[in-house]
């Protein structure tokens, strides 16, 4: 699992690459910390190269949403594959995120 944080057009974009599973979660959790502290900028979780997401990954996405949304900023999930989208749907989280 690789993560890369970039600033693009005044938005913070976190690129996820590979499998976001239980083993990868602790590192990913650390990587998203700057997103949670950010204010006044929208966040994009780029999943174009994300092959799989587990419950641990969902929890990380939810924690970002929980930190960012009360500040009035948006969290967008971008480039999600059909199989990862199905995980969001099966678990009932499809209406919680904004997809790009």
């Amino acid at each position: 699992m690789n993560t890369t944080l970039k600033e693009e057009n005044n938005e913070l974009v976190m690129y996820f690459e590979g499998r976001l599973d239980t083993a990868a979660a602790p590192e990913a959790e650390k990587a998203v910390a700057p997103l949670k502290e950010s204010a006044g900028r929208n966040i994009i979780l780029d999943c174009s190269q994300l092959e799989y997401i587990s419950s641990a990954g969902l929890r990380i996405f939810l924690s970002v949403l929980k930190s960012v949304k009360p500040k009035g900023d948006h969290v967008y999930v971008r480039g999600i594959s059909d199989s990862v989208r199905a995980v969001f749907a099966m678990t009932g989280f499809i209406n919680l995120f904004e997809f790009k």
Binding site: D82, A86, F99
Partner: protein, 355 residues
């Protein structure tokens, strides 16, 4: 800037004001913070709280007109002014009660303009308190009025005081008539709010007593229904498949979906749950049992119930897509998702019966 001619006394008062200005700025902010916090604690939602320190120009104008009336700058009570604009007339009185609690009120100087009018006259309606912080310091003015009173007085002030021409009686009368009309509207809004509160209580009581067929499906009633934890049993049953944690989310986005199914009362929603609960569980089981997903949103049960309902009513792929489009915005990807969900559902008994 308009030229103002002040006598020696007026100039002395103006100098006192200049010396006091930093204290006034601090007072303005302190009084505002105190009131804002107290209103928030009491859950009183107002349209605006304004605060300002009187400008030197404005004070000079006042002193030019009636400077002799003031012995010292402390006698000018509106150097700091605060205004609370409420939605409802009864909220003006609630704000006043709070002001009495957090500030010391100078009753000699305070005035309730609402009580000054003759029975057959209408005009400026506002409650003015001259206050002081409990810790002491200069006095300040607090005006409390409704949004409609504010509109009236702002327009009346704008047209009445700006011009050099005296306003003829017939136009003054028009202003009074408008004030009367706005007073009536203010009272109607308050009455409407009270009636809506009574209606909500009545609906809550019907929901609590289980008379669900009597309760029309609406934003309010559906919220009450959710708060009664009607979806908890199915959520817990589904969560037990993977010993999952249930993460609380809003279920309100599903209301338009239920309405599209033709549900008109909470009784319809209750029957929808009873008739589709087992199949919704079976569908969730089929999807989740082959995964290790141990976190589910609290809307999971409702989502599976909606999916089952659509499939039982021959909604097929398009019906499933409609659900996802409704709860998460229209997208082509929802079509693919609907296709996947449909494939997984096809082996279930309720789908066989449909064929």
């Amino acid at each position: 800037m308009k030229k103002v001619n002040l006598d020696q006394h007026g100039e002395a008062l103006l100098q006192q004001y200049r010396d006091l200005r930093p204290t006034l700025e601090q007072l303005s902010q302190q009084a505002y913070d105190l009131l804002r916090q107290a209103l928030a604690e009491q859950g009183i939602y107002v349209t605006a709280i304004e605060h300002r320190v009187k400008t030197e120009q404005s004070l000079a104008g006042k002193l030019e007109l009636k400077g002799a009336k003031y012995k010292s700058i402390d006698d000018v009570t509106d150097l700091v002014g605060m205004r609370v604009i409420t939605f409802y007339t009864d909220d003006v009185d609630k704000v006043a009660v709070i002001a009495k609690r957090i500030f010391d009120i100078d009753w000699q100087e305070s005035v309730d303009k609402r009580k000054l009018h003759q029975l057959d006259a209408f005009g400026y309606n506002s409650l003015h308190y001259i206050c002081r912080l409990k810790t002491g310091g200069p006095r300040f003015e607090l005006q409390m009025r409704t949004a409609l009173q504010h509109v009236w007085s702002t327009i009346e002030h704008d047209t009445g005081y700006k011009g050099v021409v005296k306003i003829p009686r017939k136009y003054k009368r028009q202003f009074s008539r408008l004030a009367g009309m706005l007073e009536l509207i203010d009272d109607e809004f308050s009455r409407l709010r009270q009636e809506l509160t009574d209606y909500r209580r009545q609906i809550q009581s019907l929901v609590k007593s289980g008379q669900l067929d009597e309760v029309p499906l609406s934003l309010e009633s559906f919220r009450d229904f959710i708060e009664q934890n009607h979806f908890d049993y199915l959520n817990k049953r589904i969560a037990a498949v993977n010993q999952a944690e249930i993460y609380p989310v809003s279920m309100m986005p599903f209301l338009p979906v239920l309405e599209s199914f033709g549900m008109e009362t909470l009784g319809d929603v209750q029957r929808f749950m009873e008739e589709n609960g087992e199949d919704a569980y079976q569908l969730a089981l089929t999807q989740l049992a082959v995964t290790d997903l141990d976190i589910l949103s609290s809307s999971t049960a409702l989502q599976y119930l909606c999916m089952v309902y659509v499939l039982k009513h021959d909604g097929g792929r398009e019906g499933l897509r409609f659900i996802f489009d409704t709860i998460n915005g229209e997208s082509e990807a929802n079509g693919v998702l609907a296709e996947m969900m449909l494939e997984q559902a096809e082996t279930l008994p309720f789908m066989q019966k449909n064929q």
